[in-house]
């Protein structure tokens, strides 16, 4: 015994319709829930992102401040070391220049009398037996056993500069 196909489909149509409706309702509910959840998640994510951003901003500001301080200290250190290096350069120049200039005294007309005075000074300090020799840079070096005196022109210039002491600061003083 068979039921004609059209009749069977008619008989199932309420079931089908009900199933479809139920499926639609479920789907709508699911969709609504999913939307709610998505919205909640989104809100949460936005809030979290906001917090992270705030934290990052604070951290960044702190890091930035630290870095700025480090750079400031670094820049000051650099500036200071350059100033000091420049002062050192002018100081060394000041020591070099007179040494060169006094060497030129060797060619001056009154050099023999200068040398004579230096020899005399050496003999005063070390005694008449002192052996006096000329120095390549001009001036003399005298010695007796155990003692020696350097009266070369460069050594004398050096000592004169040592005696200047604080005056040298006028090179870089404002």
């Amino acid at each position: 015994m068979t039921t004609p196909p059209g009749q069977m489909s008619d008989a199932l149509s309420p079931v089908r319709a009900e199933l479809l409706r139920a499926a639609h309702t479920d789907a709508d509910a699911l969709l609504a829930r999913a939307e709610r959840e998505a919205a909640a998640l989104l809100d949460q994510a936005r809030a979290e992102a906001g917090t992270i951003l705030d934290d990052a901003r604070r951290q960044g500001e702190a890091d930035g401040a630290d870095a700025a301080r480090d750079r400031l200290v670094g820049a000051r250190r650099e500036a200071r070391s350059r100033t000091l290096a420049a002062r050192r350069e002018s100081y060394e120049e000041l020591r070099r220049e007179p040494a060169e200039r006094v060497r030129e005294l060797r060619r001056a007309d009154d050099y023999p009398s200068l040398r004579e005075r230096l020899e005399h000074r050496a003999r005063v300090l070390l005694g008449p037996a002192a052996e006096v020799t000329g120095h390549a840079d001009g001036g003399v070096v005298a010695q007796v056993p155990g003692r020696r005196i350097d009266l070369s022109l460069t050594a004398l210039a050096d000592r004169a500069l040592d005696r200047m002491g604080g005056e040298v600061r006028s090179l870089w003083a404002p």
Partner: protein
Amino acid sequence: MSLSGGIEYTAVRELRGPLAIVEGVSGIGWDEYVRITLASGERRHGVVLDADRDLAVVQVLEGTAGMDPEGVRAAFSGSPLRVPVGTDWLGRVCNGRGEPLDGGPPVLGAHDAEVGGAPINPVRREPPSEPVLTGVGAVDALTTLVRGQKLPVFSVAGLPHLELAAQIAAQATAAGEAFSVVFAGMGLTHADASFVRDALEERSAAGELVLLLNTADDPVIERILTPRIALTVAEHLAFTVGRHVLVVMTDMTTYAEALREVSAARREIPARRAYPGYLYSDLASLYERCGRIRGRPGSVTVLPVLTMPAGDITHPVPDLTGYITEGQIVLSPETHARGVYPPLDALSSLSRLMRKGAGPGRTRDDHLDVAAQLLAALARARQIRDLADLVGQAALSPTDRRYLDFDKAFLRDFADQRSDRPRDLDASLERGWRALLTLPRSQLSMLPARLLDAHGAKDDPGTGVSR
């Protein structure tokens, strides 16, 4: 430095260890400074350790390695070492002998002064009366440093005393008045020296700091000169220029060891633990150079740091230092182990001049009362801790348990501080108050009722605790 007539002595009889024995000399005195020129033209420096008839024993600062007695020439300066003094020192970094390490020219000054100095005439001393605020809360509140005082830090190896010394040097102020710091590091490792340079960079750049760094591998006799140069520079900055100067000297134990080494080289009779018998007077010749002078501006305050070998406070260096100085700041390994910086042992620490530099009109009206109450409560807390070890915490009375809470609050909220941030005195005293208010009002008997009311002291400060 003028050399007497420029005569150089060339007869070196012997080179032994760091010593050179020069013969044929005349008119040479002890401690005279010597300039030595080698055959190669290299310059070294020395100090006369002993002079007898025509012999002079010279300690060569850089050592005698590589020296040939044949070509050596020694020029005696006619006086002990003198250094130029003046404001040019500010902002400079030099070695223990005062020679620049910062790439600059030699430090120059319109005047020079003998590094040995002369102690201040006792009748011209002005009693200390104003504080130096270190920016370290526990030190300022409990052991206030007073201008013109000498207050040592006693530490043991492994504690952060160098960190504390550098922090104090970086932060200390004198109520807005012109202030400078002279930091003399002796026997520092290169790592420590570089830590100190970094920690003090800002103050150095501000032109308020003189940094003298003698490293562990520098000659020992230089270590003996370092604190003397520091104090000579400080004295001029204080009493002539009119600044308040804090001299931080670390580590004095290394200094004493250098003194022992030189004494042994001089073949002197050793005293306690082989230190020379004159260790006391030698230390006094340094520490006593601090103070204030009547009619002159400025002050020299000295903060020596020393490590006690094996934590022994009876060791000659802390022992003799304690005789001379006006109190001490003691660091404790136990507090350090609890993770507290600075690890101050408040009950063993004391500033004898604190009453002259703190309190009404100087720091804050309640300062001395709060400090006294903190120490009294801390002493009681220590007794209770010992008792708890015997009978167990459960057997303690509720009040006793409050003291244990106070002890924790004291270390955590009051004593502990970051090493790179200063804390002003007001903030420190407020923290002290907060720690004290963990105790019932009846226990705060050293504080006037007016102050207790103002700070809201309660009979029962906690919840669920009955008395």
